[in-house]
Symmetry: C2
Subunit: 238 residues, 2 copies
């Protein structure tokens, strides 16, 4: 009896440790994104370099989460609910790792962009970044609180980000056509905008994972969004 209780406690410790690691990892990803947006805004090379170099810490946390999740599944043979929660940690860690990669990529492009004069269209990119930063905060809060309703809100907010990206895409093309000297910086801004849009997609992935963990049914089956089953790489037609 005492031995069984001991096993249960160790299992709870592992679940809690997984949550702590996800919390650390998501906090870092948010901080990296906020820092790189600040670097874009203030044209700060040094800050961009810090973001570029800081991504390794996020990668390391993913490795830790994956190792602990696999170990826990193998040792504890968890039942449906707990198993879903552990698998959710692994999937979410993989999504956060990619959010970190995008922040790092924006950092690299910022350093290139800082070599040429600032374009006014940067302001639109910043606004898009602000929307995705809010999605990110909301979805990570929801994940840690187990708030399935908030997950739905985040999931729905992504449509605005996609629309924002589409209009930004057109705006950037207009700038490029106006003056050939704008072409090179605008392609970097275009990739930065695309990276931000994909970060939004990854937030919806986290929302879907969390919803499934809480409800045991898929969010995308409950509420169809847009006309595509896979939101990962949906592109505007323009």
């Amino acid at each position: 009896m005492e031995s069984e209780e001991h096993i249960v406690t160790a299992f709870d410790d592992e679940l809690e440790k997984l949550t702590t690691l996800i919390s650390q990892m998501s906090g870092l990803a948010e901080a990296q994104f906020a820092a790189v947006m600040k670097a874009v805004e203030s044209r700060n090379d040094e800050l961009a370099e810090q973001v570029r170099d800081g991504d390794k810490e996020i990668d390391d946390l993913e490795d830790q989460i994956e190792a602990l999740a696999v170990k826990t599944i193998a040792l504890r043979q968890p039942m449906a609910n707990d198993l879903r929660s552990i698998v959710a940690s692994m999937k979410t860690a993989a999504d956060i790792e990619r959010i970190g990669d995008y922040a790092k990529n924006i950092a690299k492009r910022t350093i290139v962009l800082n070599q040429v004069p600032r374009l006014p269209v940067t302001r639109s990119v910043m606004r898009m970044g602000q929307s995705v930063a809010e999605m990110m905060k909301d979805v990570f809060d929801a994940y840690l609180q187990g708030d399935a309703e908030k997950a739905i809100e985040v999931w729905e907010a992504d449509e605005d980000v996609d629309n924002h990206y589409t209009s930004l895409f057109r705006e950037l093309l207009t700038y490029m056509m106006e003056d050939p000297r704008h072409i090179s910086p605008c392609t970097h801004l275009l990739f930065i905008a695309k990276n931000i849009e994909r970060m939004g997609d990854l937030c919806t992935n986290v929302a879907e994972t969390l919803y499934y963990r809480e409800k045991g049914v898929r969010l995308s089956q409950t509420r169809p969004k847009g006309n595509s089953a896979n939101q990962m790489l949906v592109e505007p037609d323009a």
Copy 2:
């Protein structure tokens, strides 16, 4: 004794089933990529639409692999070697799923590109696609054969793809500067090229996973490549 043998056999069946599913999934991804490159080459909208719609099958296979892998870990509590092999299946399935997403995205952009006259630079994109198609074939063969040496070759081949992308990036900028009417199609070609380059990165991920499965040490620790720990989103500076 008989019962134990039964368990071992069921476990082997599950491992074999995982391999079969990866083989199916990788075959589909290769076919999707070949089809979409053909659609770019021949400006074939119908073929591009088939690729766009065919991605769902790849996504379904990923779900099956993940479910079977988790079930196998929970029920069989596999030891180090087998556990590494099962985790490798999950990671590889996730990478193949993303390769499928990129093929789907290229398909969508092809349909847009087919509305305007073909640009000669398309030929360079096709050549880059050819290199990545070879990497893909090699790494999937290596995965199924457990060939760690071949994994190293694929992993090293990615540097050529990255260099190819960098020169293509410059080529596309030149086209855009030449004539403002080229700007819109060239941005789509730029994203197509970027997608192909990322498919190459995903092939190196598969190579790393397979190497680790076979050798128990990380390929990137054995042989440093370039100057970045994370190959996922390494961008040329241009």
